[in-house]
């Protein structure tokens, strides 16, 4: 499996709970690519957080809106792009400037904790530039072997 590049797509409703199904599907892919179990768990957690953001924020929990995951895998890299329908755009600037201490102290919005967590779990992550007619597109990547805490690239 995964000798050359391949793309898998998963589309599901904006309803909490479905991120668990996505987590199973993508977890299986990562395991079959040979990622070690701890990293598969990290990826599963990061993906859940990203999906929850897309469901709650981008699609405002409107169940008829879809979440679209595109997973591109090659020999040593797995890239996920989680797209929503962009009913609300993600205020990523605000999230990047607040620290977790500020959030915990109630000095900044408690939202965005998920993104902080994702950053700790994967090799690369960040929002992709918006295109007309598209919603938020959040990209995360994991390498095997790892490239921990690489800069977020688009």
């Amino acid at each position: 499996m995964a000798q050359t590049q391949a793309t898998i797509e998963l589309i599901f409703p904006s309803q909490l709970g479905y991120e668990k199904i996505a987590r199973e599907a993508i977890g299986t892919l990562a395991r079959n690519m040979g990622f070690d179990p701890t990293r598969v768990e990290d990826l599963r957690t990061a993906l859940s957080e990203a999906c929850i953001n897309a469901i709650e924020h981008g699609n405002q929990r409107q169940t008829q809106r879809r979440i679209h995951i595109t997973c591109t895998i090659s020999r040593n890299r797995l890239v996920l792009v989680i797209s929503d329908e962009g009913l609300r755009f993600h205020p990523s600037q605000e999230i990047e400037t607040a620290t977790i201490e500020q959030k915990l102290a109630g000095l900044a919005s408690a939202r965005g904790m998920g993104l902080m967590l994702i950053e700790q779990l994967v090799d690369e992550c960040g929002f992709l530039p918006s295109r007309p007619g598209q919603g938020n597109r959040f990209r995360l990547a994991m390498y095997n072997p790892p490239r921990r805490h690489g800069s977020a690239t688009a």
């Binding site: 499996m1 995964a2 050359t4 391949a6 793309t7 898998i8 797509e9 998963l10 589309i11 599901f12 409703p13 309803q15 709970g17 479905y18 668990k20 199904i21 987590r23 199973e24 599907a25 977890g27 299986t28 892919l29 079959n32 169940t63 008829q64 879809r66 679209h68 797209s83 329908e85 598209q134 919603g135």
Partner: protein
């Protein structure tokens, strides 16, 4: 974001998951884990979830091997539609090879199969044994479409 190929009937809750896989053996595992995550969430018993996993595995493997002739550029599209009555799983290929309809009706003869070079023919029989309803049709893509239904016991 591309439009989903399958539009669910409008309702209060849209329980449709769409999965696009490359035609390469191994990827059926992703469909199996997606199916079991959804079925567990819907309340199917372990035995039924196991039956569903086997049926999905056979259907996707058939689509990869026969329908798409192992051409990894061709997609297998799996659509899971949940309702209060059960789960519908549609598996569509791009139809490089159209399924011989007589295969869908016969029960393989074990003696004959053991003595022939072609050891196939058991997948469809097995799917029909495991699932509550099975239908064969032509997919909108022009390929083969297999629909299987598993009912929730109430």
């Amino acid at each position: 974001m591309s439009n989903p190929q399958y539009m669910a009937p409008s309702g209060d809750e849209e329980r449709v998951i769409e999965l696009h896989l490359p035609s390469r053996l191994g990827y059926e595992k992703v469909a199996m884990d997606t199916a079991s995550a959804m079925a567990k969430r819907m309340g199917f018993s372990h035995d039924r979830v196991d039956s569903l996993r086997t049926a999905v595995s056979e259907a996707v493997t058939n689509a990869i091997e026969h329908g798409n002739q192992h051409d990894s550029a061709m997609k297998v599209v799996v659509v899971f539609t949940g309702s209060d009555d059960g789960l519908i799983v549609d598996v569509a290929d791009q139809g490089r090879k159209i399924l011989d309809q007589t295969i869908t009706e016969r029960t393989p003869d074990i003696h004959q199969v053991l003595h022939s070079d072609d050891k196939g023919g058991w997948g469809i029989w097995l799917i029909k044994e495991l699932m509550d309803e099975v239908q064969f049709s032509v997919a909108p893509s022009g390929g083969n479409k297999l629909r299987m239904v598993i009912h929730l016991d109430r």
